[in-house]
Structures are given as structure tokens and as C-alpha cells.
């Protein structure tokens, strides 16, 4: 992933065979469950059915129903139970079938998980991981296509992870499970089949460290989750015209590695931010503000944002594609900024 134009297969270093983002997550859970008896998995259809996206495949067989718990369809209830269990020192890894259903559990996540340590003066920890597949692109329409990174990263007390590669999916999930704070772990449904290298049982990816996915001096593109791949695709096209794009993946939104983002923008003088969520009060809006504060004097052009259209997701395939950020849109924004003076 570190070299320009690399297709993921070529980017894989020699060694273990590439695995899917889905399997990378399964490996992380399996390894952490083997390592720590306090870790358990809970959610709707995570056991016998092996998960709506098969991310928990094999776990019930291996660990039994004490540690792989199928719940009724009661998101607020089982998330709250997980939070209570975490207060008692267990390390629940909850699967919300999709981020869309997490809205039913929002009170538990925001009013309880995010607040316990603080409002009780540090007496209690809440070491819970709440996994939520999300994003659009499969014609699932208005209620099954959310990207709620902005909502969760708005909340102090939560940690928010947005992995884009199999390596990060595994390494960051392992870190999240070992973390003593509540973590919202946002997976992209569109990336489950994506293959790439992954680390071994001891390869953790730290929180708060962005990854530079491609080096380039003309414009910085900050992209989240699946949008990293959209940005890399745009970068390939731009390179054919001699425009070198630096693609940065923050990997975690809380904590945020502002330093790596700002260092890149100071070097290139330009920034495009790409997210799959809505534009109003979105992650891109926030990152743009942070980068203006940190890099205003270095900017050669206003920061640009590429977000989803400001509408509920339409069903019609052509409209859905029109609503989502595309490589062409990202490339267009980069060209616009690069054409606007400066280096």
C-alpha cells in the first residue's frame, strides 16, 4: 500500500497470503478471544448464523455459546448489557448488524458508554468494542446506507476507528479490544471482500496514527475507510496527467492524528477531504476546520470537500452512484485546486 499506483495484490509483501478484510476481522476476534478469557462476542445472529456478513464465522464452533452470544433483535438492550458487562471488567465485542441499527442504541452508547469514566470521576472503565458495518453502494436505499462517522466522532469519551485495509482492520480491532475505553469500530460493507496482507497475533496498529497511502507533492487527499480506495483510484488517473497526489488515511478519528495530516498539507499547500457521509457538519467539514487552523498560512487554495449528496440514499442504481463520491469527482477537485496557482 505504500507505493504509488499499487494494486492491492501487488502491494502485498512476500509472506502470508492475502486475506479479506472480513477474514482479517475474524482473525482479530479469534486471536483476542484465545488470548483473554474476558473477551466475548455478542450480537444479532453472530453465533449460529455466523454474522450477517459472516465476520464471526467459526467463532461459535470454537468458543461455544458462553462467549459467542446470539441476542434477540434488541439493539438498545444488548448494547446496554454489553456496557454493563464492560463496567464489571469483561471485554465485550459487540456486533451491531449495521451502523443503521446503532441508532436504536445511541442512548446507551452516548449517554452511558461515553460518559461512565468521566461522570464517575475515573472510578470505572468501559472496555467495550462496538463493531458496525456501514456505508452505501449496494442499492439498500434510505435506511440501510448510513455513514455515521461524524455522529460518533462528535462524542468525547468514545474512540472511533475507520479501517480501510485488511491489515488495519485486524490490527486496529485487536488494539480496540485491548483498549480500556469504549470504541466504535466502523467497518465498510463495501470492503469486506477486499484482500490484502495482515499482521500476525502480535501486530497491533496503534490508535491515532494516520497512514500515508501514497506519496505526492501536488495535493493532499485525506480519505476515510472505503474512500481511501476511491482516492487512490483518482490518484492513479491524476498521475497520468502528471499530478502527484498524497493520499492520507487517518485510520482513527478519535484520536485524530492531526499532525500527519497537517504536515502533508503544509508540504502540498492543497487539500481535498473525501468522506462517504453527508456534507453538513460532517467529518470532512471538521477536518477542513482543523486543517485551516493548523495550516492556513501554507495553503495555496481553499480546502475542498467531497461528501455524499445531501439526501437520503436513493434506491435507483444510477442515482445511488450519483449520490456517492467517485474517483472522477475526487480527481476533478484535485485538478481544480492544482489549477489554482501555487507550486
Amino acid at each position: 500500500m505504500s507505493t504509488a499506483k499499487a494494486a492491492p495484490r501487488k502491494a502485498a509483501p512476500a509472506g502470508p497470503k492475502p486475506v479479506s478484510y472480513r477474514e482479517a476481522l475474524t482473525q482479530a476476534m479469534r486471536e483476542e478471544m484465545e488470548r483473554d478469557a474476558q473477551v466475548f462476542v455478542m450480537g444479532e445472529d453472530v453465533g449460529q448464523y455466523e454474522g450477517a456478513f459472516k465476520v464471526t464465522r467459526g467463532l461459535l464452533r470454537e468458543f461455544g455459546d458462553r462467549r459467542v452470544v446470539d441476542t434477540p433483535i434488541s439493539e438498545a438492550g444488548f448494547v446496554g448489557i454489553g456496557i454493563g458487562a464492560a463496567m464489571a471488567g469483561l471485554r465485550p465485542v459487540l456486533e451491531l448488524m449495521t451502523v443503521n441499527f446503532s441508532i436504536l442504541a445511541l442512548d446507551q452508547i452516548v449517554n452511558n458508554a461515553a460518559k461512565l469514566r468521566y461522570m464517575f470521576g475515573g472510578q470505572v472503565a468501559c472496555p467495550i468494542v462496538i463493531r458496525m458495518p456501514g456505508g452505501a453502494g449496494h442499492q439498500l436505499a434510505a435506511q440501510h446506507s448510513h455513514s455515521l462517522e461524524a455522529w460518533y466522532s462528535h462524542v468525547p469519551g468514545l474512540k472511533v476507528i475507520v479501517p480501510a485495509t485488511p491489515y488495519d482492520a485486524k490490527g486496529l480491532l485487536k488494539t480496540a479490544i485491548r483498549d480500556d475505553d469504549p470504541v466504535v469500530f466502523l467497518e465498510s460493507e463495501g470492503l469486506y471482500a477486499k484482500k490484502g496482507p495482515v499482521g500476525g497475533p502480535d501486530d497491533l496498529v496503534p490508535l491515532g496514527r494516520a497512514a500515508v497511502r501514497r506519496r505526492g507533492g501536488d495535493c493532499t487527499v485525506v480519505a476515510l475507510s472505503r474512500m481511501v480506495w476511491v482516492a487512490l483510484s483518482a490518484a492513479d488517473a491524476l498521475a497520468e496527467d502528471g499530478i502527484e497526489t498524497e493520499v492520507i488515511d487517518p485510520r482513527t478519528l478519535r484520536p485524530l492524528d492531526l499532525e500527519t495530516l497537517a504536515a502533508s498539507v503544509r508540504r502540498t499547500g492543497r487539500a481535498v477531504i473525501v468522506e462517504e457521509g453527508w456534507p453538513e457538519s460532517g467529518v470532512a467539514a471538521n477536518l477542513a476546520a482543523r486543517l485551516y487552523e493548523a495550516c492556513f498560512d501554507w495553503l495555496d487554495a481553499p480546502i475542498a470537500r467531497v461528501s455524499a449528496a445531501d439526501v437520503p440514499m436513493p434506491y435507483a442504481k444510477n442515482l445511488e452512484q450519483a449520490a456517492l463520491p467517485s474517483p472522477a469527482q475526487v480527481a476533478g477537485e484535485v485538478r481544480r485546486l492544482v489549477g489554482r496557482g501555487g507550486g
Binding site: F40, R66, T71, P72, S74, A76, G77, F78, V79, G80, I81, G82, I83, G84, A85, A86, M87, A88, G89, L90, D107, Q108, N111, N112, L116, R117, Y118, M119, F120, G121, G122, Q123, V124, A125, S153, P156, G157, K159, D179, D180, D181, G208, L253, R254, P255, L256, D257, L258, E259, R290
Partner: protein, 352 residues
């Protein structure tokens, strides 16, 4: 009792001994005097925010908590000063928390609605009606997961019964046979709305029928009755992994909070309930059985007054919360001392 199974069969054998009864009496008076003093301090402006008083609910609180082992975890609502005191939290630390001072139970970060004393397995007061009940079930889940023999007690009010999340977690508690007791302290009003205006079935314990869970109603003004009911419910949970629900009928004498002018309730209604004040009726029982003398009862009240006086003095003397505490407890390892930059990592020293 409808078709509800009753956990009352063994009530007769669970009568507390004289020492425990004296202790219950002392705690009830401590709560009464503490709440009265808190109201005074609120009027003086030393306590901010919301202040919800449990005057009138002492029997329900003390009867339930004394029926448990000190290591059984409890969750409560925002009306939880009494729960903390009944669990043995230092009244000085509780009052200092209400004052928002450094020596408060939660270092001044929680306030009246968010008392918590982990050392005493009191898992806190919560401000969202019904929102804390799943946490108690989660504590019970952890007990079952670790194959321990504790019991979790979820205390909540009649208002919480109509929150959907209660049905969700009662279902899971029964489905998974978790060691938890759902304790509804029915004080007749969800803020200003009477139970009969909020619940289609006013016998709230019957909700348990839907989950095939045993449940019963008990006189929440009678500390002995509450103690007996919770003792049996705890036994069921501990020995048979059978969750249950108890509805204690009580009455809060004051409005919902200190800012509630309490205009919706009839004065005669309050007088009717105050005529069977739980402290007065319990004292009559104790005198009748020779557990305390009149002089000893007076001494209990005097001791409660002294403790509360001392608590208020301590809270007043306690320093303000240091400004550096603003973001200290946000995360296990805070990244930033600057709350504005709470989400950002501090500059790295290794230059990577």
C-alpha cells in the same frame, strides 16, 4: 397477582435480626436528614443543577439494599443519594459531590444525579429514565459469565416501566436466566404524570408476566416487607438463576426535583401518605418489639443530624475541583490537556 408466580413463599424465614433492624432504622433517618439538609443547601445556592429528593422513599431504598450482600452490584436513577448512603458511602463525600467539590464521591464531576461508589459496588445514578437498567443486566451477565454467586439489583421508577429498553432487557434476563432483580420503586409519579395517566396497566409488576418472570407487589412504605421481598428475590437469583421483578409502592413527599413547584398533586393525597410515614411506622414496630427504646430512637435521630451537619461542613470546606481535572478522566490515557483539542493527539516526541 394475576398468573404471576410469587417469590414470597419464604418471606417468613428472612426476618432480619435486631441488629440489622437497628441499622436499617439508622440509615433511614440518615437519608431523611440528609435529603432535608440537601434541600436547604440547594436553597442557599451551594448545590446546583437538579436535586431529586427521596423523602418518603426511605423504606423502599433501605429495605431493598439491606437485603443484599455488600458485594452485590446495584444501579439506580438520578434519585439515588439514599442508595449511596444505604450502601455505606461516606455522607461527607456524598454531600461534597452535591456541592461539586474535589472530595466528592466522583471528584465533583458527577453531581447529584451521578453518584457512584465502585468500592461499595454501587454502580451509579443515571439521568436517562430507564437507561441504567440494561447496565444492571450487564452486571448480572458478567456474574453469570464468571460463574459467581452475586446478584445485580436494578432500581428504577414507575416512569421507566414504559421505556422500551426495559422490555428488551427483561426478555434477555429471563431468556438467559441472569441473576438480576428488577426493582420498581413506584412513587406514583413520573415527574408530574400520575401512573394511571401513563400506564394502561397500573399494576406495574404484571409486566413480568410477558416474560414468564416471577414478580410481586410490596408495600414500599414498610421496610420489613421490602426487605423480605428482596431477600427472596435475591435468593431466587443467586440459587436458581431466576430473575424476578418487585414493585414497591411508595410515595415521594417532595416534587420531582427542587425546581418542581409540585402543583399537580392534591395536598390531601400527600397527607394520606405521610400518615403512614415509613420512619414513624418502623419506629413503632421497633419500640413494640423492644428492639430500640424511645431514648435510643431519639439518639438515632440526633446521630443522623450530627452526621449530616458534619457532611455539610466537610463539603463546604472541600476545595473546588482543580481546573486540570477538566479532561483528566475522559479517557484511560488522555491525549491532550487542551479540552478544545480533545480528539487530537499531542505532538509526538519521536518525530514519526
Amino acid at each position: 397477582m394475576a398468573k404471576t408466580r410469587s417469590p414470597s413463599a419464604r418471606d417468613a424465614v428472612t426476618r432480619p435480626d435486631a441488629e440489622l433492624m437497628r441499622g436499617m432504622f439508622e440509615t433511614m433517618w440518615l437519608i431523611r436528614r440528609f435529603e432535608e439538609r440537601a434541600a436547604e443547601e440547594y436553597m442557599r445556592g451551594r448545590i446546583g443543577g437538579f436535586l431529586h429528593l427521596a423523602i418518603g422513599e426511605e423504606a423502599a431504598v433501605v429495605g431493598a439494599i439491606t437485603a443484599l450482600r455488600p458485594t452485590d452490584p446495584i444501579t439506580s436513577t438520578y434519585r439515588e443519594h439514599g442508595q449511596a448512603l444505604a450502601r455505606g458511602s461516606d455522607p461527607r463525600a456524598v454531600m461534597a459531590e452535591l456541592f461539586g467539590r474535589r472530595d466528592g464521591l466522583c471528584g465533583g464531576l458527577g453531581g447529584s444525579m451521578h453518584l457512584m461508589d465502585k468500592e461499595r459496588h454501587f454502580y451509579g445514578g443515571y439521568g436517562i429514565v430507564g437507561g441504567s437498567i440494561p447496565l444492571a443486566v450487564g452486571l448480572a451477565f458478567a456474574i453469570a459469565y464468571r460463574e459467581e454467586d452475586s446478584v445485580a439489583l436494578a432500581m428504577f421508577g414507575d416512569g421507566a416501566v414504559n421505556q422500551g429498553v426495559l422490555a428488551e432487557v427483561m426478555n434477555m434476563a429471563e431468556l438467559w436466566r441472569l441473576p438480576v432483580v428488577f426493582f420498581v420503586l413506584n412513587n406514583q409519579y413520573g415527574m408530574g404524570t400520575a401512573v394511571e395517566r401513563a400506564s394502561a396497566e397500573t399494576d406495574l409488576f404484571k409486566r413480568a408476566d410477558a416474560f414468564d418472570m416471577p414478580a410481586r407487589q410490596v408495600d414500599g412504605m414498610d421496610v420489613m416487607a421490602v426487605h423480605a421481598a428482596v431477600t427472596e428475590a435475591a435468593r431466587l437469583a443467586r440459587e436458581e438463576r431466576q430473575p424476578s421483578m418487585i414493585e414497591a409502592i411508595a410515595y415521594r413527599y417532595r416534587g420531582h426535583s427542587m425546581s418542581d413547584p409540585d402543583t399537580t398533586r392534591e395536598g390531601s393525597e400527600k397527607e394520606r401518605w405521610q400518615a403512614r410515614d415509613p420512619l414513624v411506622t418502623f419506629e413503632r414496630v421497633l419500640l413494640g418489639e423492644g428492639v430500640v427504646t424511645r431514648e435510643e430512637a431519639d439518639a438515632v435521630r440526633a446521630a443522623a443530624e450530627r452526621a449530616v451537619e458534619e457532611a455539610a461542613g466537610f463539603a463546604e470546606e472541600s476545595p473546588e475541583v482543580p481546573p486540570e481535572e477538566l479532561a483528566r478522566h475522559l479517557y484511560a490515557d488522555p491525549w491532550s490537556d487542551d479540552p478544545r483539542g480533545g480528539a487530537a493527539m499531542p505532538p509526538r516526541k519521536d518525530g514519526s
